[in-house]
Amino acid sequence: MKCYYGRIMAVKGVSLSVNPEEIVCLIGANGSGKTTLLSAVCGLLPDWTGEMEFFEQSLKGMEPPAVVRSGISLVPEGRLIFPPLSVLDNLKLGAYTMYKKKAADTVKKDLEYVTGLFPVLKERFDQPAGTLSGGEQQMLAIARALMARPKLLLLDEPSMGLAPMIVERIMEVLEVLRKRGITIVLVEQNALAALEVADRGYVFETGSVVLQGSADELLADKDVKRAYLGKDYGDFYDAV
């Protein structure tokens, strides 16, 4: 079993693949095309060419509801929770496709499971989601995505704007999830934190993959730093 992402024009012909039950992280500076790629996978962007397959099923022309039903959930950048709704309602909406599959019983179990992962959420069930702190909101966003029982979980910048402690906690949860058999694609700017949990990584620069390899290899590679902080001062024009 393998899932492939084919060539995508918007991000200049990227090809990559993710194996089941692994954590793959996509790192790179802002605007390097990581988020665009995730949006395309989820069906948010209709304009892409190339091929994308998930468990040998093409994702071409699928709209987000269908993508979610097929087992891919996205934790979007900026979380996109529903602030006026309660935490519980947010979670229940995450299970919208499950309810529609007439699997209301499993929803209850899932609810217990995700609140087991993030006990904070249980304490705040009835609060409007907008009143949560940033870290709690991020947890809620992940929990909400899990409610749809994804086989593949896509996370876009889960560490953005969060304290290191919370980032650590979230990364721990990702490892737990992987053990439960969920495949994870992690888009991160915080490369070190991401590479620590990931099995493999791809480094993006201006819309294409410039490096790929196992997490350990990448951690050791100096070029990773280059992708973020640029070549040394002066090298640039010398190269011209």
Partner: protein, 291 residues
């Protein structure tokens, strides 16, 4: 004192009607960011269907009411499918003109079906007016209030308790976020249309006994409802209810203490003041949107 009470009764009755119409506007706006200028015409369809079924065909009230609301809701559904969804460039001004076109079309249709005359029908119950400290409260007013309250409570429960209701509010909060979690937003929009127009039909059906219904009654009611929705805050259920009652009561007091000729002016001056001071409406908190 007795007069003030009487003004209040009058205001509350009208206000309740404005409120239901405003809820229709608000509901549609929160799901689609569209102002339906044909909404008043759906009120007209509701009123005239109710009169026809109840007074014309002599149906009992309940089935007549249910059929009216369901039929107009269906009309709203058709409206979305035929006139709103095919729009190639869903620019706000374009959508406004389409709904204006729809309002003219529906008015014309109403005239073809029911002719140019006005119709009236019996109140829901034949109870004499109730005397409260010398002021008279109509039985129909109580009916209207009860129905409006039941409806509000129902909507509140729908939004709070049912998955579909929650999904609709989620759509209203952020269409993208709703889409990501797998909520079929297009269906939600369709549902919003059906519900909003059904709301209009309810308004029409409950006022049919207190006033005269004719094919051209919709424009003014639509405008007042729009006004009320704006007053309370576009996109908020409670804002619409509050705006409706506020508008109705202030109009009645305006008649009582200012001048009956300036009654409508009272409403619009109030509206302008609210817009200038607090453009998001009394309850609304949504950011002021632009075209």
């Amino acid at each position: 004192m007795q007069e003030i009470l009487q003004y209040l009764f009058s205001g509350i009755t009208n206000g309740a009607i404005y409120a239901v119409i405003a809820v229709g506007f608000s509901m549609l706006y929160s799901s689609t960011e569209l102002i339906n200028f044909a909404h008043g015409e759906f009120v007209m369809l509701g009123a005239l269907s109710m009169v026809t079924l109840a007074a014309g065909f002599g149906w009992p009230l309940v089935p007549a009411f249910v059929l009216t609301v369901a039929a107009v809701g269906m009309a709203g559904l058709l409206f979305e499918r035929l006139a709103i969804r095919p729009v190639r460039q869903p620019d706000h001004i374009v959508l406004i003109i389409i709904t204006v076109g729809a309002s003219i079309f529906l008015r014309g249709l109403g005239m073809l079906i029911w002719g140019k005359d006005a119709y009236s029908m019996q109140p829901f119950s034949d109870h004499p007016p109730i005397d409260v400290a010398g002021a008279k409260l109509l039985a129909q007013s109580i009916w209207i209030l009860v129905i409006v309250m039941a409806l509000t409570a129902g909507l509140h429960l729908f939004y709070r308790r049912t998955l579909t209701g929650k999904a609709m509010s989620a759509c209203a909060v952020s269409k993208k976020a709703a889409w990501i979690v797998g909520i079929p937003t297009k269906w939600m929009v369709l549902l919003a249309f059906a519900l909003a127009t059904a709301m209009g039909a309810v308004a029409g059906a409950i006022i049919a006994p207190v006033t005269m219904s004719s094919y051209d009654m919709g424009t003014v009611l639509g405008l007042k409802g729009f006004c009320a929705a704006m007053l309370g805050g576009l996109g908020s259920l409670w804002g619409a209810i509050l705006g409706g009652f506020l508008l109705g009561i202030l109009e009645a007091l305006g008649v009582g203490f200012v001048s009956s000729g300036l009654k409508d002016a009272t409403a619009f001056v109030l509206l302008l003041l609210v817009l200038y001071v607090r453009p998001q409406g009394i309850i609304g908190s949504a950011e002021v949107k632009r075209f």
